[in-house]
């Protein structure tokens, strides 16, 4: 499954360590919550990484689905009644996929620079829709008063109000997400996706409908992006339009490049390091954007293969 040395090393170090983290932190609520957010963001960034790095579809509007994941939950659930987490996960995934199918149908008609601008504009449209709506609290967003319960056949696995439980739910989700993408990439579908990125014309000549494969990938990545937004909404108990802002999309792109584009596990690496730096810079100065922006510029100019690329060149590429 994990064939390359750097990837293997990372996965074998990261997940066991992440499992122990709440114990090491002595269940310190602040840090456990912070780490859970990073895990959620990693899912979001990984879904974007698949789209940009594996399918060659550069989007600057992925936050559209992140925000939708949160808002869909708010729209679907009754205000003062606990619903079932698994059932609503299913609903959110299905509805987000349906929306992604329509959006993908429009944006995938274009490519390159046009796709970047159109995805951005569509995400921005949704941003304004929610920030102008009185029904969804406008700029302030909506609170989620009751968190869902997670019982399956009477078995209650997670208590979502407990930060440590929530953390483990996020970790499980992230692991499944990585596994899922790895499985996709190994399947016949994944090989065709690779071929489409490598050479769309030749893939068409081989008799595959490139558009369909792109659309399918777009739907998959968007649904997982929505799942991440849904988890985020549950963690903080509210949704607001800033989840849909272009900054969310842009930062996620930066994280995936920082980690190493198209490597999938690099998304986790990139998110961890970016958030770590963000936290560090914020402690140093209120103008943390200055060192962060400078770092992004330097990264584009000099650090082109990301952290995963760096790790791989250290360890040698094959096992």
């Amino acid at each position: 499954m994990f064939t390359n040395r750097a990837e293997k090393l990372f996965v074998w170090m990261f997940f066991p360590l992440a499992l122990l983290m709440p114990l090491l932190l002595d269940q310190n609520t602040f840090y456990v919550n912070k780490l859970a957010t990073i895990l959620i963001l990693s899912i979001f960034v990984m879904s974007l990484d698949y789209l940009v790095g594996r399918c060659g579809l550069v989007t600057l509007g992925h936050a559209l689905f992140y925000g939708l994941g949160g808002y869909l939950f708010v729209m679907l659930t009754p205000e003062y009644e606990a619903v079932n987490f698994w059932v609503y996960t299913f609903y959110v995934l299905v509805i987000a996929s349906a929306i992604a199918l329509v959006v993908g149908f429009i944006v995938l008609r274009t490519s390159g620079i046009y796709m970047i601008m159109i995805t951005l504009a569509l995400a921005q449209m949704c941003f304004y829709f929610f920030s102008d709506s009185t029904e969804f609290g406008g700029n302030d967003g909506v609170f989620i008063y009751v968190k869902p319960e997670t019982s399956v056949f009477g078995l209650n696995l997670f208590d979502l109000d407990n930060p440590t439980h929530f953390y483990y739910l996020c970790l499980l989700s992230l692991f499944n997400c990585l596994l899922f993408f790895k499985l996709i990439m190994r399947s016949k579908f994944g090989r065709i996706v690779d071929a489409v990125q490598e050479n769309p014309e030749r893939t068409t000549a081989l008799g595959y409908n490139v558009f369909q494969f792109r659309l399918a990938s777009y739907v998959i990545a968007s649904a997982l992006g929505a799942y991440a937004g849904y988890l985020f909404a549950l963690q903080y108990g509210f949704v607001n339009p800033s989840m849909l802002s272009w900054q969310t999309s842009g930062t996620a792109l930066v994280m995936s490049i920082l980690g190493g584009l198209g490597t999938l596990y690099g998304a986790i690496l990139g998110t961890l390091v970016y958030e770590g730096l963000h936290y560090g810079f914020e402690h140093l100065t209120e103008h943390w954007l200055l060192p962060m922006g400078t770092l992004i510029i330097l990264m584009v100019l000099a650090f082109r293969h990301g952290l995963a690329g760096y790790l791989e060149s250290l360890l040698g590429k094959r096992k």
């Binding site: 550069v58 620079i113 569509l122 304004y128 272009w246 490049i257 209120e286 922006g293 992004i296």
Partner: protein, 287 residues
């Protein structure tokens, strides 16, 4: 809506559209000639507005401040192109997006570092501070008329430069084939620096003349950038004529929808864009 009110709003819409054209033309020019998508273009608009505020306060004259600010912006454009953008010409769009996102971060931080986060205001210069009565109730500010006129003059100037001068010929040649222009012995790098600086200056000039009409606030550039994207996508990427038509459409639709359909007004221009894209996926004036 009676006819005077309609005309009044139409003038507002056209004025907003012309201002958008000024910014969007810089974006589309830089993309058309150099193939660079500059997300930090909106930041240049913001920089223009803040510089205008700063120099108005130090020199005491808005006219003087406008000239100084435009020159500073031009120099800033040259500096950014020479140090950063020059490294992006052979790179893909993704690298351009990331580097210019980095620039947005840096400019936002510098803005809050140098000028703080409170909204600032610039007074309309006395010689333009007046209003022309349209009816007993409605009057139109002279300053807005002046801005529209200035935008039209700049648009005509751009049209003449691009279509009637040697420089314009080089710009058009650079658009269609970079390598061939280089082979013919033209210093393409100098041309690129010039075009990029001109793009930055256009956005900054829009920021400068906007300063007395809007409040100068953090994040003002990002809002404008997205509207410009809509303009450029509607008009066709790289087409200045398209930017002109697109900007007027966006300006008029935005102004009228905020009166007639206030609930969905901020979405209207995106709906307009989506409809146009369904009919013409490359915009109205795609080359």
């Amino acid at each position: 809506m009676d006819i005077t009110l309609f005309l009044f709003q139409l003038m507002n819409g056209v004025q907003y559209g012309l201002l958008l054209f000024l910014i969007a033309s810089g974006l589309t020019l830089v993309f058309g000639v150099m193939g660079i998508l500059n997300l930090a273009h909106g930041s240049m608009y913001m920089v223009g507005a803040y510089l205008a505020w700063y120099f108005t306060n130090t020199t005491g004259s808005f006219g003087m401040a406008a000239v100084i600010s435009a020159i500073v912006a031009l120099l800033l454009g040259i500096l950014i192109e020479r140090t950063l953008i020059i490294r992006l010409y052979r790179r893909n769009h993704l690298d351009q997006v990331l580097l210019t996102i980095g620039l947005i971060f840096v400019f936002n931080a510098l803005q809050s570092l140098l000028w703080g986060n409170d909204p600032l205001g610039v007074a309309v210069p006395a010689w333009l501070d007046g209003a022309i009565p349209l009816t007993d109730m409605i009057e139109y500010p002279v300053y807005r008329l002046f801005v529209s006129l200035l935008c039209i003059l700049i648009a005509i100037g751009m049209y003449l430069t691009i279509n009637r001068t040697r420089l314009g010929m080089l710009i058009r040649a650079g658009e269609s084939n970079r390598d061939m222009v280089e082979c013919l012995g033209v210093d393409i790098n100098r041309l690129y620096t010039l075009v990029f600086a001109a793009g930055v200056a256009l956005a900054a000039i829009a920021g400068i003349v906007s300063a007395p009409m809007v409040s100068v606030v953090p994040g003002m550039g990002e809002h404008v950038l997205i509207s410009c994207f809509v303009v450029v996508v509607i008009g066709g990427m790289g087409s200045i004529r398209g930017a002109f038509v697109g900007a007027l459409m966006v300006g008029i639709v935005d102004t009228f929808s905020s009166i007639m359909l206030p609930q969905v007004s901020s979405m209207m221009i995106y709906i307009l864009m989506a409809v146009i894209l369904l009919v013409k996926p490359k915009g109205l004036f795609a080359s």
